[in-house]
């Protein structure tokens, strides 16, 4: 990693963000339906980052907040809704009305984004898929182009590797060497981490030894940069074994985010006026369940 090659450093989230996430970077925060790194998103808003290129398959509430707070000028994504609820109003307001300013978008499909991260993690400049064919996406997205199989002559689609400056994910556990364990729906996190130039992982728990767990994957600490202990750091998303998805918050976000004023007030009160994620959780009246493993 960039900070030290053979281990990941255990840092506060504040320190990790201030040392690794600067204005203008391309930042990916992944977690497909699970383990969405909300604490990290908040910290970036708190530290006032600007002109970021945000990358994420499903922008979700985490990027709705960052976009509405004016942190981003560009978004690469594949599906931008509030799952099970409806629109991402801040995302829509940015795309439809350029509020708070213009948001340039680079739009892909899920399969294309997965292929791009995989290429990045593999050290390849591009990936190949059977994708996008017959849709209007290639007419609007310049990072989609045909490629011909040199053996069969068949035409397929190429997409360039994603290599974020920083990738951020949330995970269940890390040990003191920064080895990180992700359990349950592992999504695209490993690829997003390994595709990045620098990485930050927030975790529910720091343990002496990672417990062997069915279905878990481990990313060695030497392949990571910063590990931060942030219990419930995925809220309103969840960490299997530690917390449940806060479906009520997802629904409540629809109201909070519909009007610019309500959104600004919410951001001021719950993110900018709090010092960290623990205080944020208290400010919204959220009780932590704690480890259930």
């Amino acid at each position: 990693g960039v900070l030290n090659h053979l281990v990941a450093e255990l840092l506060t989230l504040q320190a990790a963000v201030s040392s690794l996430v600067t204005d203008g970077l391309t930042v990916s925060m992944e977690g497909f339906t699970h383990l969405i790194p909300h604490a990290e998103g908040h910290e970036i808003i708190r530290q006032g980052r600007r002109e970021m290129h945000l990358v994420r398959m499903t922008p979700d509430i985490i990027y709705d907040q960052l976009i509405g707070a004016g942190c981003a000028t560009r978004l690469t994504f594949s599906w931008g809704g509030n799952p099970g609820v409806g629109s991402l109003h801040r995302f829509r307001d940015a795309v439809e009305n350029a509020w708070p300013h213009v948001l340039e978008i680079e739009e892909h499909s899920h399969a294309g984004m997965a292929t791009r991260y995989t290429a990045g993690a593999s050290g390849l400049p591009f990936g190949v898929l059977r994708g996008y064919v017959g849709t209007d996406l290639p007419t609007r997205t310049t990072t989609i182009t045909p490629i011909v199989c040199p053996f069969t002559g068949e035409q397929l689609t190429a997409v360039p590797a994603l290599t974020p400056d920083v990738t951020v994910v949330h995970a269940q556990r890390a040990d003191h060497d920064g080895n990180v364990q992700i359990c349950g729906l592992v999504g695209i996190q490993k690829e997003a981490l390994l595709a990045a130039k620098a990485t930050i992982v927030t975790v529910e728990q720091i343990v002496d030894e990672l417990p062997p767990t069915p279905g878990a994957i481990v990313i060695p600490g030497w392949a990571l940069d910063a590990v931060c202990h942030v219990p419930d750091g995925a809220h309103p998303s969840f960490a299997m074994g530690y917390s449940d998805r806060d479906n009520a918050f997802y629904r409540a976000w629809d109201d909070i985010s519909t009007s610019r004023d309500a959104f600004i007030e919410w951001i001021n009160r719950h993110i900018l006026a709090t010092v960290d994620f623990a205080e944020y959780l208290r400010s919204i009246g959220h009780e932590r369940g704690g480890a259930r493993v």
């Binding site: 497909f32 339906t33 699970h34 398959m57 499903t58 994504f77 594949s78 599906w79 931008g80 809704g81 509030n82 799952p83 099970g84 609820v85 409806g86 629109s87 991402l88 995302f91 829509r92 795309v95 439809e96 739009e107 892909h108 499909s109 899920h110 399969a111 294309g112 997965a114 292929t115 991260y117 995989t118 898929l129 059977r130 994708g131 996008y132 064919v133 017959g134 849709t135 209007d136 996406l137 609007r140 068949e154 035409q155 349950g184 729906l185 592992v186 999504g187 695209i188 490993k190 690829e191 279905g215 998303s237 969840f238 299997m240 449940d244 998805r245 479906n247």
Partner: protein, 252 residues
């Protein structure tokens, strides 16, 4: 989260419920219809379903309870063979992972399972559908100056390309069933017969459009969607009025 399943997630294109049909009835009818189709496919040994939350998940789970052999549920979040005991609220629901035969990462799901042709049935939905079953879940109006920005394509382009067949579940309205989609997020039959083959799509494409008024199926020759059945009490006029192109009926 494929665009398929967010029938209820398309804001600003919500359909006013016409007299005589309640929203709940419409959803239930579509669910039962889809479940029945999945049961038939399972009996034929072809019912590995790529599902998302919403009506398709409900339909697939209903079919899993009703039919033996049961369809296999694959959720794009990475769960293969999930057997939830309650209906999941999101495709990231812990229950889906805990009851799955296997949990895989997102790249593997799209490459080894969907792209490789292991999915028999995909579900799609969206804000607009045209007579060749192309779907728009991206934008209403122009792309550069959208009237309504929708969530986007998600998993739909490759579901439409690679699933053995595609079932569309959408409420039928003249605003949604359009002559031409403002944006083509996923491909049905393109501009007509031969387009799928010409573009090398390996999946069979749309076979059924299940609506609150009945069922449309592509004409084997013209690929145009034709109304092949109507729910009891629904009239041809109702269907015609709820369709933006000159709708044909199968028994014409």
């Amino acid at each position: 989260m494929n665009a398929a399943v967010r029938v209820s997630d398309q804001p600003h294109v919500a359909v006013a419920t016409p007299p005589g049909r309640s929203a709940i009835d419409a959803d239930d009818l579509m669910i039962v219809n889809a479940a029945r189709c999945l049961g038939e496919l399972a009996a034929a040994g072809r019912a590995v379903c790529f599902v998302g939350i919403g009506l398709p998940s409900t339909a697939a789970n209903l079919a899993r309870r009703l039919y033996q052999p049961a369809p296999v549920l694959v959720y794009e979040s990475g769960c293969i063979g999930s057997k939830p005991t309650r209906l999941p609220l999101s495709i990231g629901d812990g229950e889906l992972a805990e009851t799955a035969d296997a949990v895989v990462g997102v790249p593997e799901m799209f490459a080894y399972w969907l792209q490789a042709g292991r999915i028999d049935v995909g579900f799609l939905g969206g804000a607009q559908l045209d007579k060749y079953a192309n779907i728009n879940s991206t934008v209403i109006g122009s792309y550069d100056a959208p009237r309504t920005r929708l969530p986007g394509a998600g998993g739909a382009p490759e579901i439409a390309a690679s699933a053995g067949q595609v079932m569309v579940i959408m409420r039928q309205t003249a605003r949604a069933f359009v002559t031409r989609c403002d944006f083509r997020s996923s491909m049905g039959f393109g501009d007509g017969p031969g387009d799928r083959e010409r573009l090398g799509l390996r999946g069979g494409g749309p076979t059924l459009v299940i609506t609150d008024l009945g069922v449309l199926q592509p004409d084997p020759k013209s690929c145009e969607l034709v109304m092949t059945s109507m729910h009891p009490g629904v009239t041809r006029d109702q269907c015609t009025a709820a369709t933006g192109w000159p709708l044909r009926f199968a028994d014409d």
